[in-house]
């Protein structure tokens, strides 16, 4: 049944709808709040006396790439331990969520974290795709995030969208990683290189950046190919790449795809003798478990583990890590997780105000601004200082090579061992 309202009623209903829309719009655009004497344009978190300060975690914690996130998360936990699990007089409550190293996983994890209004900041993401899906959801509710291993240049680009402006990066930028890979490739005296990515934001932007730099330097990109993340048969694409006769294949792809590549490459006659250069996306025992003995000889770029380049606290971090988890670091991002968490704690200490009753108030925008203006942090990765777009980490790269296919032998510096510079 259709009820036709009189003209006056329709006008009134229209006005009410318009007013509601404006009200909702106003509320979502501006959440300025004053609590306990702290005024912040996007809201204030009150932490009652004796209650914990909630810090979220958003990184891959399951699946073939779990080492990326778990390693960073463990680094963050060691940082909290170093602060005796207390910040501004409150215990720290760390709430990590699995973001699956995908856009959808990032969205799901961020949505769960954003639903908790007590969370003041998030450590992570660990993958660029997670950042693309999750960071805007977090920043939409005023939660800044301290990136531990998402390296895509777009995340801190000058023209990055508003949703990414709550992200500070405590790992290198892929623009630097691509440049380092180019320097290494040139040292091999090759001129013809092919690239392969898996469509993820990380892999695609790194492969493209490498290609641009390589061509600018006078080299030739014989093929710029892609697979989908679920591909298990990479032989057709290798056959296609082989038809272009490259001397090197730059493949910044993740664990599972890299293992398929490593094990199937020898079957393609035109590719059998072509070297592959991967990245620290495969810097984990999971790669050895998937690739087995075929991993021997596989080279990858990663952060240089030279003690002279890392921070003075790095050896202590590794010792605490081993003691706490009963194993050596499982990937190369524990120091980034440690620094990200430390920066978050420093930012909280900088902006939090505690009143006479022992309640603490933290302005959300003030916290984000403090995080993105981190300077002079003598972190585990070295000196940490953020630029105005949120790139904070030092970046010294090296090339590593796996020398053993047994996952039990994984230890950065030994397997894979550093081969360049």
């Amino acid at each position: 049944m259709i009820v036709r309202l009189p003209t006056t009623a329709r006008r009134a209903l229209g006005a009410a709808l318009l007013a509601t829309t404006c009200l909702v719009g106003t509320v979502s655009m501006s959440r300025a709040e004053t609590l306990g004497g702290v005024t912040d344009p996007i809201g204030v978190v009150k932490v009652a006396k004796g209650q914990p300060v909630f810090i979220g975690g958003m990184m891959v914690l399951a699946g073939p790439d779990l080492a990326l996130g778990l390693d960073a998360s463990r680094g963050a936990e060691v940082a909290f331990d170093d602060h005796k699990n207390m910040v501004v007089g409150h215990p720290i409550k760390y709430l990590p969520e699995d973001a699956g190293c995908s856009v959808e996983g990032g969205q799901a994890a961020a949505t769960r974290l954003a639903a908790n209004k007590n969370i003041v900041a998030v450590v992570g993401p660990a993958c660029s795709s997670e950042a693309r899906g999750g960071a805007p959801i977090l920043w939409n509710v005023g939660i800044p995030n301290a990136d531990t291993s998402a390296t895509a240049p777009a995340l801190t680009a000058p023209d990055r969208p508003v949703g990414l402006q709550g992200l500070a990066r405590f790992v290198y930028n892929d623009a630097d990683a691509a440049a380092a890979a180019v320097v290494y490739a040139k040292s091999l005296k090759v001129t013809k290189v092919a690239t392969l990515h898996d469509g993820s934001l990380y892999a695609q932007s790194l492969a493209e950046k490498f290609g641009d730099l390589w061509k600018t330097g006078g080299g030739t990109i014989t093929a710029a190919e892609a697979i989908s993340p679920s591909d298990t048969d990479v032989r057709p694409v290798l056959t296609r790449i082989g038809s272009t006769k490259p001397e090197l294949l730059f493949a910044p792809i993740f664990t599972s795809a890299s293992a398929y590549l490593t094990r199937q490459k020898p079957e393609i006659a035109t590719m059998a003798k072509v070297d592959v250069l991967g990245t620290d996306a495969v810097l984990s025992p999971a790669f050895l478990e998937a690739a087995g003995d075929a991993a021997k000889g596989y080279r990858l770029t990663g952060i240089d583990n030279d003690p002279k380049l890392l921070g003075p606290s790095y050896p202590a971090l590794v010792a605490k890590y081993k003691e706490k988890y009963g194993e050596a670091p499982i990937a190369g991002y524990h120091a980034n997780g440690y620094d990200a968490a430390t920066a978050v704690l420093m930012a909280i200490e900088k902006v939090a105000k505690t009143d006479a009753a022992g309640d603490t108030y933290i302005g959300r925008k003030a916290l984000r601004d403090a995080l993105l203006s981190t300077t002079g942090l003598n972190g585990a990765t070295g000196p940490v200082s953020c630029d105005k777009f949120g790139d904070c980490a030092p970046s010294h790269f090296a090339v590593f090579e796996y020398v053993n296919g047994d996952k039990e032998t994984f230890e950065l510096g030994k397997n894979p061992k550093k081969v360049y510079p």
Binding site: G63, G199, E225, A226, S230, P236, A290
Partner: protein
């Protein structure tokens, strides 16, 4: 005889839309193919390699598709957990070979190792399939509606996450068999022995299956139940036994597929049954679900289209990174076949035979 004027007079907008779609697809595929021929990028060896890759993965799709199609033929039910039965076979084969390797059998007794891997994969997959039938499907067999479908989906997740819990979320390296390492020269095409072995094993398995279905008493009973379950009961056939046998047979084929998959792609992981299961189901539908030769044909066709399609016409169209789109090509072909031939490639032959 087809009367064009009559068709134009009767055609509605849906007919015109489908005609336009057909012409568009033909133009895209034909244009890409011709352009590829005019600007050849690959030599004979590359094309043969693409075909060999397609036949290898197609053989695995076909083995999985057979499980889907047999259960559908008997129960008119799609068993969405079948892909995960394949996954259990892959893990069983992997663990069998790892154990053989630790015992030193892989190098000293390679044939025995292979036999043990086949035995492990087939036994575990058949057992999982039979248990699935007993626990998750039989209670819903007489029911109507979507309960059996939901039950198969639920069981699929139970199997996946049980495997994840037991074996971990990481990919596991599948041991190589020294017996079939290396390459073989086949009429000028140098290909890995593994691929040849996988294709031969799949073909032999399909021949054995055909003999079981067409030449044995239980196979005759399967066909009878597939034709008319009530009439089969009246003829004294134990339908429950036939259904259990069908699940076991499908499980065995999935187990062999799991082993062959591991030998070629050299990794197993808990989620591997999902994508391969979807592809196997697609192959079964492509060939005409319920039709055993159709499942075989659908599997090989899907594998070949995936492997040859990107090089055959996407390259010609100037599409960048065409192999990223091979799933898109495969499923587009599936959709097109279903639009223009809803019963699949061999579905009509079955219905004609039945009629």
């Amino acid at each position: 005889m087809f009367d064009v004027k009559d068709w134009i007079r009767r055609a509605g907008w849906v007919d015109w839309f489908l005609l336009a779609l057909r012409l568009l697809v033909m133009a895209v595929v034909g244009g890409g193919f011709i352009s590829g021929l005019l600007h050849p990028r690959y030599g004979r060896d590359e094309w043969l390699s693409f075909a060999a890759f397609g036949l290898t993965i197609g053989a695995i799709y076909a083995l999985i598709a057979l499980g889907y199609t047999m259960v559908y033929g008997i129960l008119r039910m799609v068993n969405f957990a079948h892909g995960d039965v394949f996954m259990t076979g892959g893990y069983a084969a992997c663990f069998s070979l790892v154990a053989c390797n630790r015992a030193g059998l892989l190098s000293s007794q390679p044939l025995l190792s292979l036999f043990l891997a086949v035995l492990g994969a087939v036994t575990v997959s058949a057992l999982v399939a039979v248990l699935a039938e007993r626990i998750a499907y039989r209670p819903f067999r007489k029911g109507r509606g979507l309960a059996p479908l939901i039950s198969t989906l639920g069981l699929s997740f139970v199997l996946e996450y049980s495997a994840r819990g037991m074996f971990g979320a990481q990919n596991r390296s599948f041991p190589s068999l020294p017996l079939i390492d290396g390459t073989v020269d086949l009429l000028g095409l140098v290909m890995p022995k593994t691929q040849l072995v996988v294709m031969l094993a799949a073909v032999i398995t399909m021949i054995v299956l055909t003999l079981v279905v067409m030449r044995t008493k239980i196979g005759t009973a399967m066909r009878a139940v597939s034709e008319d379950q009530d009439a089969a009961i009246l003829m004294g056939i134990n339908v429950d036994r036939v259904i259990v046998f069908t699940f076991a047979l499908g499980g065995m084929l999935a187990g062999i597929a799991g082993l062959l998959y591991g030998l070629v792609y050299k990794q197993v992981y808990f989620f591997m049954g999902f994508f391969l299961g979807v592809k196997g189901f697609g192959a079964a539908v492509l060939g005409g679900i319920g039709n055993i030769p159709g499942a075989m044909l659908g599997g090989f066709a899907l594998g070949l289209v995936e492997s040859l399609g990107p090089a055959a016409f996407l390259d010609g169209l100037g599409v960048d990174s065409p192999y990223q789109l091979r799933d898109g090509i495969a499923y587009t072909m599936l959709v097109m076949v279903l639009i223009f031939r809803p019963r699949g490639l061999l579905g009509e032959r079955l219905s004609t035979a039945r009629a």
